[in-house]
């Protein structure tokens, strides 16, 4: 058993870092329930004496449409990326193993470096500033990491199963639909929760592709609260809480899977 004094040392450090991690969040919480008159007069350390939910009701109205846009884009990105990710991972397993190197390079390619040609493409197609363009663009850029993610779950042992199915007369597509997909429940949960969070938090594509009200997402709309000269901090903080809630809830419930998304995507793939 560890001595009491060493346990105290451990807890002191853990609590110091805990404070560092939550103090900015705490000041966000206290400010979000402060009325506009009192912001700046009351220290962000303490709860306001007259708490109000007015900032939330104001911000919720502003964020309703962006949240709806975000969900439409999520639907496009997450569904397509999960299907393509598992499909192409299966393809690299049975056919073209070297293809995985292309996806690895893709993972380390900064999306912003392709922003100008991407914008031009969607403008040419007449889809600039639409939910479809944003959903499809994000889909294209998350496919490489999603393929690596699924590939790390598809062990070589799967090949024996595939071989058996082939002998039974199933073709490649049928094996994908009836053998691979049913065996992919865990990677599908990992991929969809992981992709949901990175898509929801994405700002760059919203900035260059969907700045208008028809396609802007919650995070982008939130950043616009800053563009006025003196930010109204209570509205901003209420906006922070509302727009982060889906992702934070997902992390609290499925955090293990989302982390697995980060580590599996970077794990063994070749």
């Amino acid at each position: 058993m560890r001595s009491v004094s060493s346990m105290i040392k451990i807890y002191v450090i853990l609590i110091i870092y805990f404070l560092f991690a939550v103090i900015p969040l705490w000041s966000c919480l206290t400010t979000s329930i402060t009325s506009t008159k009192e912001v700046g007069l009351i220290s962000p350390w303490v709860l306001p004496p007259n708490p109000t939910l007015e900032p939330f009701s104001f911000v919720l109205k502003e964020l309703a449409r962006p949240i709806y846009n975000g969900l439409i884009q999520e639907l496009i990105t997450v569904t397509l990326a999960c299907l393509t990710g598992s499909f192409l991972a299966y393809y690299t397993l049975i056919r073209w193993k070297k293809l995985i190197y292309l996806f690895i390079v893709g993972v380390f390619t900064p999306p912003i470096a392709a922003s100008v040609p991407t914008v031009l493409t969607w403008v040419k197609l007449g889809l600039y500033n639409t939910n479809l363009a944003l959903g499809l663009t994000r889909y294209a850029y998350v496919v490489p990491i999603t393929v690596l993610l699924f590939r790390s779950f598809y062990a070589e042992s799967l090949l024996r199963l595939i071989e058996a199915a082939r002998i039974d007369g199933a073709d490649d597509l049928r094996i994908y639909a009836q053998v691979i997909l049913p065996l992919s429940k865990i990677p599908l949960v990992v991929a969809s929760s992981f992709l949901f969070t990175i898509t929801w938090n994405c700002y760059v594509w919203a900035l260059v592709l969907g700045p208008g009200p028809e396609a802007r997402n919650a995070i982008y709309r939130l950043s616009l609260f800053l563009s006025i000269h003196t930010p109204e901090w209570n509205y901003l903080m209420a906006g922070v809480i509302i727009s982060s809630l889906p992702v934070v809830l997902l992390y609290v419930t499925l955090g293990k899977y989302i982390l697995a998304g980060y580590t599996a995507g970077m794990g063994k793939a070749v």
């Binding site: 939550v22 392709a114 040609p117 995070i219």
Partner: protein, 295 residues
């Protein structure tokens, strides 16, 4: 055999593969290719596409030898890389070894440490902008309470440059701690027990048992955090926009400003190309090493 394949009608399976690959290939690789092409031209917003000239490496020469904002942005990227990556991994190491022996309260701390990581960069930027805000921010009100001098943290180049590193470390250390905690959990207990019986001190066990076991998670963290450090955009864009002046600018912000702010598409594309090459150069070798070793 190959003959037979050529005369066959392509199967639906092949068609599906080709469609998906083509879509991804277009956006991820062809667009990067177009970007590289643009970087060899003098395209700026006012010119019609027919009057664009190929100017070879002129944009790159201009950036590397004459543009002060490019030098500052590059050095800021390197500063972030040199401080944020080791600091996050170091704090992560400390926290994970403490969490490992913390006992029943571990899930509580683990959840709280991961909270900052779950937030969008924009949200982190807003939170920390508020922390640093003059007069009403939590940092300055605390300093005032302690009768210490307040500062405009994000308006002075010297403090702004380092003030921006704190939110990044704030976000990444918790993530690093949890990844490393996974590695610590996989160390067989018998090894630790027998080392203890042999009289190994805490430090010796850390240096000769724990660290070697955590080698691959640490390489992995190096790869992923250095990628984030080089690609960083949203956080700085929200907090300072690269200012004051260009003092806190980084390559992604500089490229974005050239391309979308001033319509110097050629110059912006050159910055983006250099950023891509830098990212490949710093992350890919370690990643392939990790793959060869088979994590």
């Amino acid at each position: 055999m190959s003959n037979k394949r050529f005369h066959h009608k392509p199967s639906f399976f092949t068609v599906l593969v080709v469609i998906q690959l083509a879509f991804v290939f277009y956006f991820v690789f062809a667009c990067i290719g177009f970007n590289i092409l643009i970087s060899f031209t003098d395209w700026s917003g006012l010119k019609p596409l027919t009057e664009i000239n190929l100017i070879g490496l002129e944009n790159y020469v201009k950036l590397i030898f004459f543009k002060r904002e490019f030098h500052i942005s590059f050095l800021n990227n390197m500063l972030i890389y040199a401080i944020v990556v080791p600091a996050s991994i170091g704090i992560g190491l400390l926290l994970s070894s403490l969490l490992h022996i913390a006992g029943r309260s571990e899930p509580f701390f683990r959840t709280c440490y991961l909270l900052p990581f779950s937030l969008a960069y924009v949200v982190v930027g807003i939170l920390w902008l508020y922390v640093y805000y003059p007069n009403i921010g939590i940092l300055n009100t605390t300093l005032k309470f302690l009768h210490l001098p307040e500062r405009h943290w994000l308006s002075e180049p010297q403090t702004a440059r380092f003030a921006l590193l704190v939110p990044m470390i704030w976000q990444y250390s918790g993530f690093a701690a949890l990844v490393l905690l996974g590695g610590l959990r996989s160390i067989p207990l018998e090894i630790m027990e027998s080392a203890k019986i042999d009289g190994a001190s805490g430090f010796t066990m850390f240096r000769y048992i724990v660290l070697p076991h955590l080698r691959y998670p640490i390489y992995f963290l190096y790869v992923i955090i250095s990628t984030w450090a080089l690609m960083t955009f949203d956080l700085i864009w929200i907090m300072t926009g690269g200012g004051p002046g260009v003092e806190t600018s980084v390559l992604s912000i500089l490229g974005y400003k050239y391309a979308f702010g001033y319509n110097y598409f050629g110059l912006g594309a050159a910055v983006f190309t250099l950023l891509t090459l830098l990212n490949w150069g710093l992350a890919l070798p370690v990643y392939f090493y990790l793959q060869r070793r088979g994590v």
